[in-house]
Amino acid sequence: MRLKGIILVLIAVLGWSCKKFDDAKPASLGSFIRLYEGVVNYQGVMSMESTANDGYVIIGNIQKNSQETDVIVIKTDLLGNTVWQSVIPDGTASFVHPLDDGYLIVGDRIDFNPEANKISEIVNTDAQLVKMDLDGNIIQQFNIQDSVITSTDTLRIDYHGSAVTTDANGNFLLLGSFKNPVGISFERSFVVSLDASFQKVWSQSYVLQNRDYVNTRSIHVTPNNNLLWASTAFVSAQSLSSAYLSVLYTGENATFKNNDLYGENDARNHTVAGLNQSGFNYGVVGTYAEVNGQNANIYFLLVNSTGSIIAGSERYFDGAQILLTDRDVSESQDEGKAITGTRDGGFVIAGSLTSTPTVGNGGKDIVLIKVDAFGNLVWNRLIGGSGDEDVSSICEVSDGSLMISGSNNVNGLSSIFLIKTNKEGEIIN
């Protein structure tokens, strides 16, 4: 009897001592990988740290079907656990800007009209600025919508929202682009100033002759209260394209003060993906490739606070070889996708590398490249699995870590990823 009692006690103690997975306390992590998924494709667009430093906000697109998307906004805690998520229907997201009392989300509102008489009217987009409170409730919304009337039709002008920032007066500056559906027309950039109640203060548009403006997803107010952003000046014909970097520097409610160009005379293309500040200068990242998109490398250069490209600052990177002396050499297909400034005055570039037999983990991987304030290489990292990890944003958070987001496609279904690394770009704790 005594022995039986002892055995029962042993079993009971052991059963009690095994802590279930969901009851266990969360591990204290400085670095992590998080995924956010659904039954359809989720595409990650951007992530930022909240102003309260209590977590992160992520925006992405939910591909409902081949034509329609919704915007998803996810608020997480410091470990990436979902606190809440909200859906903005019928739209795409491009930018998120945290505020003390909520979040600004920039993107497009999409009207899908499959029965439209004209092809240009099947999909109509408005530039959209949405303000959510800290709990994810939509409290304000601003759309830019316009039409052009022809002799026979009323045609919608497609507006796109790119980015937003706040000026010294507390007004919101919304960057976007639009294209007139009538005649031979090119994509123009615009900036709209809105007050706190989303009333228009002023607006300006910027046109480039015979080329489209494809904006980066950022706009900056310089120390002297001028505006700075970057665009790709782009034209395509069949499967070939011509693109170069255009840095736009304007006053508020004014035209260009400066419009420096890079690569305009090159035989190959320079498309730009990001521009961000570190110290006194701004770093630019993009993709340098042949006109058919092949032999693509990542490029980086510096722009000063008056919008001038700093000569000699340009650098070219290949995912396999990293820093290139010959920018036309390409062992792997790479794209420069995003850039962030770091507290030491340097920059971290996030790009995509398409794996080769000798480099990469399969599919697309994330390549991180750290350069100092002068563009000199400091370190580089490769992160990825056998699927396609397509990075879309990178930022430095308050503890010096790096926050990277994008889309992770595994066997045909994509999810949003959020990766937090240490300041050296490593996922270690």
């Binding site: 005594r2 022995l3 002892i6 055995i7 042993l10 079993i11 103690v13 052991l14 001592s17 095994c18 802590k19 279930k20 997975f21 969901d22 009851d23 266990a24 306390k25 969360p26 591990a27 204290s28 992590l29 670095s31 992590f32 990988i33 998080r34 995924l35 956010y36 998924e37 659904g38 039954v39 359809v40 470990l79 990436g80 656990n81 979902t82 983990n361 992160i383 990825g384 699995g385 056998s386 699927g387 990890e389 992770n408 595994v410 066997n411 045909g412 279904l413 990823f417 996922i427 270690i428 704790n429």
Partner: protein, 367 residues
């Protein structure tokens, strides 16, 4: 007579003689065998008679005759039991002849002949009992082998979620085998070190809801191979018992030989990710420490014991750490699996046999 075809008559004649000689040799050997057996039987029967005669001689008090009488049969002729009886008689003889050294040697021979010899306090003379108690009669150690099964589950103390969802872990049955060593140092207490090769495995499942009654599921089975060195202190519950129940407690130090995981992710309305086996050894700690509590029984069998034991192993050191949680990013990016920090707990049932090893000797006199 066999008829053979030979080249000459001379060859046939030689062969005929060869057969005859061989038959004679066989018959002679058989005869010797019969005589030896008869001799052995005769001797055995004779030694049994000798033992009876020795007892009778002892009863008559003619103690001087006992050693000579038993000498040859002790060397060869007694069965084990008869030899033990004879040596007991001889020991008693030497005691009464006041020859202590010979009495000691005789007692030693008795204990070496029958390791399990026990005195009968109701019958045996007091001097003989007193002499017996001056000798080490317990086994100095026991050596044996055990096999068993274990049921292992992780005990989480640092949860890592890659995808929001609920996780559950199920222990799996696996086996272990090894050597067992026991060192009795009092009547009640025995030290029990062991050496095992052990397999542990457990199954984990992470479900992420995707609407009503729909979920994506990641399933993984981790399998680990260890060299385990448990060391326990046994306590015999009852002195006199047929089953010799005991309890024990101690700790084990385990060395990880390797660990791998087989993992897959099944998704609603999408292709599964595809099953893979991933090596986890670089993400696991090489050394694991556990506390152990056990209960068991020992059934006397031959020269040792059949042992059955139930043990609980409680991990006190982590099997992994957050430092290496994301070393293999495929884990997280493809399967949504986070390498949460855990210890291992196991329930183990073992059976085996341990052999008593004796080395009787005269104990040093206590001060």
């Amino acid at each position: 007579m066999l008829v053979w075809i030979y080249p000459t008559k001379k060859h046939a004649l030689i062969f005929q003689r060869t057969i005859s000689d061989t038959m004679k040799r066989i018959l002679f050997g058989f005869g010797l065998l019969l005589m030896g057996t008869y001799g052995a039987v005769a001797q055995t029967s004779s030694c049994a008679q000798t033992l009876r005669l020795a007892r009778s001689t002892y009863e008559q008090g003619r103690l001087h005759e006992i050693p000579t009488l038993l000498e040859n049969c002790i060397k060869n002729g007694f069965t084990d039991q008869e030899k033990a009886d004879a040596l007991k008689l001889l020991t008693q003889t030497y005691i009464y002849l006041e020859e202590p050294e010979k009495a000691d040697q005789s007692m030693l021979n008795l204990l070496e002949t029958d390791h399990y010899f026990e005195i009968n306090e109701a019958i045996d003379p007091a001097e003989f009992i007193a002499l017996y108690r001056t000798f080490r009669t317990e086994p100095i150690y026991r050596l044996g082998a055990k096999v068993g099964v274990n049921l292992t589950a992780p005990n989480f103390n640092g949860r890592i979620n890659v995808i929001d969802g609920t996780g559950s872990y199920t222990p799996k049955i696996n086996f272990q085998t090894g050597a067992s060593f026991e060192i009795p140092f009092t009547q009640k207490f025995t030290i029990n070190p062991e050496l095992y090769f052990r397999l542990n495995s457990f199954f984990g499942s992470l479900s992420t809801p995707q609407g009503v009654d729909q979920e994506n599921v990641t399933e993984a089975t981790e399998s680990m191979r260890w060299i385990s060195i448990p060391i326990r202190m046994q306590y015999k519950i009852f002195e006199k018992s047929r089953i010799n129940p005991y309890i024990s407690a101690g700790f084990s130090a385990d060395y990880l030989l390797g660990s791998n995981v087989t993992i897959d992710r099944i998704r609603i309305d999408a292709s599964p990710v595809g099953e893979r086996s991933l090596e986890l050894t670089p993400q696991r700690e090489k050394i694991s420490l556990n506390l152990i509590a056990s209960a068991g029984v020992k059934l006397r069998l031959g020269g040792g014991f059949f042992v059955g034991e139930l043990s609980a192993f409680y991990g006190i050191t982590d099997t992994n750490s957050v430092d290496t949680s994301f070393n293999n990013s495929s884990f997280a990016l493809e399967y949504g699996y986070g390498d949460s920090v855990f210890k291992l707990n196991s329930m183990v049932i073992t059976i085996g046999y341990i052999q008593n090893i004796f080395n009787p000797k005269k104990l040093a006199p206590t001060q």
